[in-house]
């Protein structure tokens, strides 16, 4: 029975595969579904568009693209060189700009030489050697009364006014610039003994305590220039700044240079001389405004 069914199925399958089956005829008669026209359009347009692009690219000779690779290579090289030069210029310019902006006020404040100011790390790490006589508020206000930043940025600084850095190379530079500055100056008379600020000689070794110019230089970036201009409206000339370090009578010729000299004395722990100079200053300029820290000295 099962074998008969299997045999009949095989026969039916053979008939079907030969195309003699009624099912196939019925299927062929009624199954005349066509592809929707919109679908035909999509496929044909896709085939035409793609083939058109392909034909276009095939028709163009390869030689017409021969320039593309060398051009791309040259463009890459030029772009790379331009970027490299740009980076190198940035590296060369930016640190100097930063150091100038950061330390320029310190130059006017304590006459720090440029070699020192160009290294913020040195100034930031410098110990505060100034005695804590003045309060923090005084410290903050003190630089405001010293000198306008514009003058400091434009004028050269006398190196021997400043305590030198510990590095010998910097001392050599300071000595060189000191000698250059002295050579440019006219000979000056000997300093009066009572006004001698007893600054450190340029060639002498510097103790860490004398590096107190570093701390004000760090504070100086927050200084308000307009306030300083109100107190000391005149930009001190370079000669006046130089004379502040040396006991020369020129520093008494203008109030600004005199104040600067007194501040320098106070900053370098030469309090007695600073008080003496301040008294002399008051005799000549009884109504002149003085920095806050000097007002403390004046009360002594």
């Amino acid at each position: 029975m099962g074998e008969n069914n299997h045999a009949s199925d095989d026969q039916a399958l053979d008939d079907y595969l030969n195309g003699d089956d009624a099912l196939s005829q019925l299927y062929a008669e009624q199954n005349k579904e066509k592809t929707p026209p919109e679908l035909d359009q999509v496929i044909r347009s896709a085939a035409t568009g793609k083939a058109g692009k392909r034909q276009k690219s095939d028709s163009s000779p390869r030689r017409s693209r021969a320039w593309f690779k060398p051009l791309a290579a040259v463009a890459t090289v030029v772009l790379g060189l331009a970027l490299t030069l740009d980076l190198l210029q940035d590296q060369a310019v930016v640190p100097v700009e930063k150091s100038v902006q950061y330390n320029a006020p310190a130059a006017s404040e304590n006459s720090v030489q440029p070699q020192i100011r160009e290294q913020p790390a040195v100034t930031a790490d410098a110990p505060k050697t100034r005695p804590s006589k003045a309060s923090d508020a005084d410290k903050a206000s003190r630089p405001e009364a010293i000198a306008p930043g514009s003058a400091a940025e434009s004028e050269p600084v006398v190196p021997d006014q400043v305590p030198e850095p510990a590095a010998p190379a910097r001392r050599e530079q300071a000595s060189k610039s000191t000698s250059q500055a002295q050579a440019q100056q006219p000979p000056q008379p000997a300093p009066a003994p009572e006004t001698q600020p007893s600054p450190q000689a340029p060639s002498e070794p510097v103790t860490p305590d004398q590096n107190n110019s570093a701390a004000p230089s760090a504070r100086a970036q927050d200084r308000d220039l307009s306030e300083r201009d109100l107190i000391l409206p005149d930009n001190p000339p370079a000669a006046a700044q130089q004379s502040a370090a040396k006991p020369e009578p020129e520093y008494r010729e203008s109030a600004q240079s005199w104040i600067r000299h007194i501040v320098f004395l106070a900053d370098t722990d030469q309090t007695a001389q600073a008080v003496s100079e301040l008294r002399g200053f008051r005799e000549k300029h009884p109504n002149a405004a003085i920095p806050a820290e000097l007002q403390d000295l004046e009360r002594r």
């Binding site: 399958l13 099912l23 019925l26 009624q30 929707p36 679908l39 044909r44 085939a47 095939d58």
Partner: protein, 179 residues
């Protein structure tokens, strides 16, 4: 030689070189059979249209890689089979009888009503077949593929295809009362 007399493989190679007329001939040869295979295979016009478009676009995009290792129609319907399998895998649906797969009886003349009704029942019976059996029937009916070709397209053994066809025919005959 006119394009209509060229083989599918030649037409495909010409199309790969940019001859769009060759594609038109090729497309006209196979499009309706392929569409019907997809329509009966998934029982949905929208899905059939989507799959149909995917298949032809794939063919268009890969025409440069076509190799005449088999008949073009075998290649085309293999693509279609894979698409259908992916479709069922993705949707995780079981094929059901779809009324839209049958011709509308009301639109046919009265003289052919009985024949049309019988054809409708055939289509419904085909749609109700398991996918493997249905696909074997469709490939045989639409393109008259041999057992070996159906086995190649569906990635099955020859005897497996024979078995599927045997079961499918028995069910269809039973449905139509031809048994």
């Amino acid at each position: 030689m006119p394009a209509a007399e060229l083989s599918d493989a030649v037409l495909m190679r010409r199309y790969a070189k940019g001859n769009t007329a060759a594609f038109e001939t090729l497309y006209s040869r196979h499009k309706d059979a392929l569409y019907r295979y997809l329509l009966r295979g998934c029982n949905s016009r929208d899905t059939a249209a989507e799959l149909f478009q995917d298949i032809w676009l794939k063919l268009i995009n890969t025409r440069g890689h076509y190799k005449a290792s088999a008949r073009f129609s075998t290649y085309l319907f293999t693509l279609a089979h894979n698409r259908l399998v992916d479709y069922y895998r993705r949707k995780r649906i079981t094929p059901v009888i779809s009324p839209e797969a049958s011709a509308p009886v009301e639109d046919q003349p009265d003289s052919r009503l009985a024949r049309v009704q019988q054809a409708g029942r055939l289509m419904a019976a085909i749609s109700a077949l398991p996918f493997d059996q249905r696909e074997a029937i469709l490939l045989k009916e639409e393109r008259d593929f041999s057992l070996d070709e159906i086995a190649q397209i569906t990635d099955a053994g020859r005897e497996t295809v024979k078995s599927r066809l045997r079961y499918a025919l028995a069910k269809l005959r039973e449905e139509l009362g031809h048994g």
